[in-house]
Symmetry: C2
Subunit: 370 residues, 2 copies
């Protein structure tokens, strides 16, 4: 039985970010997963950092994601410096476009909200939108440019977080999937079937698989898998300049000339496969948005399971039932964006018993005795 200050269940971007933050602050950490870092939902993430598109005005999600985006420069810079890894991270801005006149009012309203917040944004007419992005479909009637938005290579970032955590002493044993979490003396034990890991605290960062854990007789949190598929295209010629967000897909121009197209949103249980219907929908949506995609090569199609929750907010905070058990799961579409904030908040909670205001809205207790 290996023992550490904290055992983290799940090596996706959230688990790895928490592991790195805890290790950086001096804790001994063990990270338990049956997959390599970032090989769950993270590998199929487009790494979008677009709070003003993802989160509705007035929602707590907007406050959380904006706050986390503010941490991103230092987060990426720090982990790159410590791990020595190169991670593509670009604040290209995003261009959200509409192709129906009746939707322009929505863009105008969004622009007004951003103005009230003091966030830089620019409402573009069709000509200006296409002048900025000549590959855009001629159907575009207008767009909203938000320069603060960007994207990050989620897989590379997660690998870098794991490497940086390892440099700080975090262990990532080949231990199989965690199945059971139980009380053990003054701490907790995580069992994989073949191995046991004792921790002073346990952080559950198991994403869509959270609900499959047996947690000391407690009903697991209501996290469900929501499949997302995306395509990677080998684009030819001049790249797009920014993330372009359309009605049926978004496209992300990578520095290597590939274009990510995301993403489906499907309730398909634990089926992590790409599908004929999903790929077909993404192809059509991408080619409608940027017709030059018809000439592209298909590099690959990927699928991952986002951890959805009933209110689309993550579940971050202490268990109300099991002492020293902390949840950091249910990040749905924004696990990458919320990783820096989650890591900070969880480390504060585990190491200093300090409760960040974030937890008022992400508290597991909102779903009962968890």
């Amino acid at each position: 039985v290996a023992s550490s200050d904290v055992v983290i269940v799940g090596a996706g971007i959230v688990g790895c970010a928490v592991a790195y933050e805890l290790a950086r602050r001096g804790a001994t950490v063990t990270l338990v997963d049956d997959r390599a870092p970032g090989f769950g939902a993270t590998q199929a993430s487009a790494g979008m950092l677009v709070p003003y598109i993802e989160a509705p005005e007035g929602s707590p999600l907007l406050e959380l994601t904006v706050r986390s985006l503010d941490l991103f420069d230092r987060f990426v810079g720090g982990v790159c410096a410590e791990s020595g890894a190169a991670v593509e991270y670009r604040r290209t801005g995003s261009l959200e476009v509409e192709t129906r006149d009746e939707s322009l009012a929505r863009l105008r309203e969004a622009a007004a909200c951003l103005a009230r917040r003091g966030v830089s944004a620019e409402l573009l007419d069709a000509a200006a939108a296409r002048a900025g992005e000549p590959h855009l479909t001629a159907e575009v009637v207008g767009g909203l440019l938000v320069p603060a938005h960007g994207f990050v290579a989620a897989g590379a970032l997660t690998a870098a977080l794991a490497a940086a955590a390892a440099r700080r002493g975090a262990r990532t044993p080949e231990a199989g999937r965690a199945r059971l979490i139980a009380r053990s003396g003054s701490g907790l034990v995580v069992e994989t079937g073949t191995e046991r890991f004792v921790g002073g605290s346990v952080v559950v960062a198991a994403g869509s698989w959270t609900g499959r854990l047996a947690i000391d007789g407690v009903v697991p949190p209501p996290v469900r898998p929501v499949r997302g598929q995306l395509l990677r295209l080998a684009w030819s010629g001049a790249l797009l300049r920014r993330i372009v967000w359309g009605e049926r897909c978004y496209v992300v121009p990578w520095h290597d000339g590939t274009l990510l197209v995301g993403a489906t949103v499907e309730e398909a249980g634990y089926d992590e496969r790409t599908t004929i219907a999903g790929v077909r929908d993404l192809i059509d949506a991408a080619c409608d948005l940027v017709p030059h995609a018809w000439t592209a090569a298909l590099v690959d199609a990927r699928a991952g399971l986002r951890p959805g929750t009933p209110d689309d907010l993550p579940i971050v905070g202490k268990s109300g039932v099991v002492p020293r058990l902390v949840y950091a799961t249910g990040h749905y579409r924004n696990g990458v964006l919320l990783a820096p904030l989650t890591a900070q908040v969880v480390a504060d909670l585990v190491l200093e018993d300090r409760t960040d205001p974030m937890i008022a809205v992400t508290n597991p207790a909102r779903f009962g005795a968890l």
Copy 2:
């Protein structure tokens, strides 16, 4: 400089079949390729063995492919016995279907041709076609069933041929791509840039890359790449019983529950990538033919370069210019099907200087001084 009786340039299914046949008859053989056996066009082949669909009535191609199909049982049986490999090989029959009334005359004519040849075949009305294959679209107006047709796992067969050849002493050095063939004493030398291989004879089985060889000052044969893309689907529920051949695609039911969907025919130079347009066309064609494909998972998409020739016939026979140089290339859509016959004919030519009647139509000389 390594020396052998025969140096074979190209380790696709044709090169490997020739290597095995030569080695089986006692020759020392060296197989030169920069890819593992079957990793060129072969890996993207659906392994179709359907001469009565592929070759027009009255064409020499029909005679060649029918003759080669007759060799297939022994060919596969022999190489499996010698290599110990398991190779999926099924003579399921094929069902060629039409969805337009005006095309039924074509099926009737094909059925009459087969009857004249004494080949078993059955013309089916729409109800009978769908009774045999309940997944077929309701648009089907009729079908032609040819029980002799089938398919083989081309990649596994090629690996088995390479293994069987190796057991008979054939060498497959990691030598890079052959770039130059030149006279050397009484034999020939093949150069890769880093290594040289001397052979009493050289067989060019380089498929689409034949035209990129520098052959002793000779103009290379007119072989051009013709891209084919295919999809592999994870089908759910009851499989199709046979190969189904539609107007815009064919589908092949594999024993493991996957369904191959082939194939595009594209003049795209040496671009071996899958494309957005190709994948989209195959998805639509497959779902139109067997609508249940909409529920399938996409396992992968592959692309390969068929070696096309101006008359759609292979180029098999001696060079008229360079002594002891033999071509076995340009098999276009039927490299897998023609592999047994090609291997036999080339071995006869190289080892016994015996010219099979096949060579009357496949002779390189029909394209000039090659």
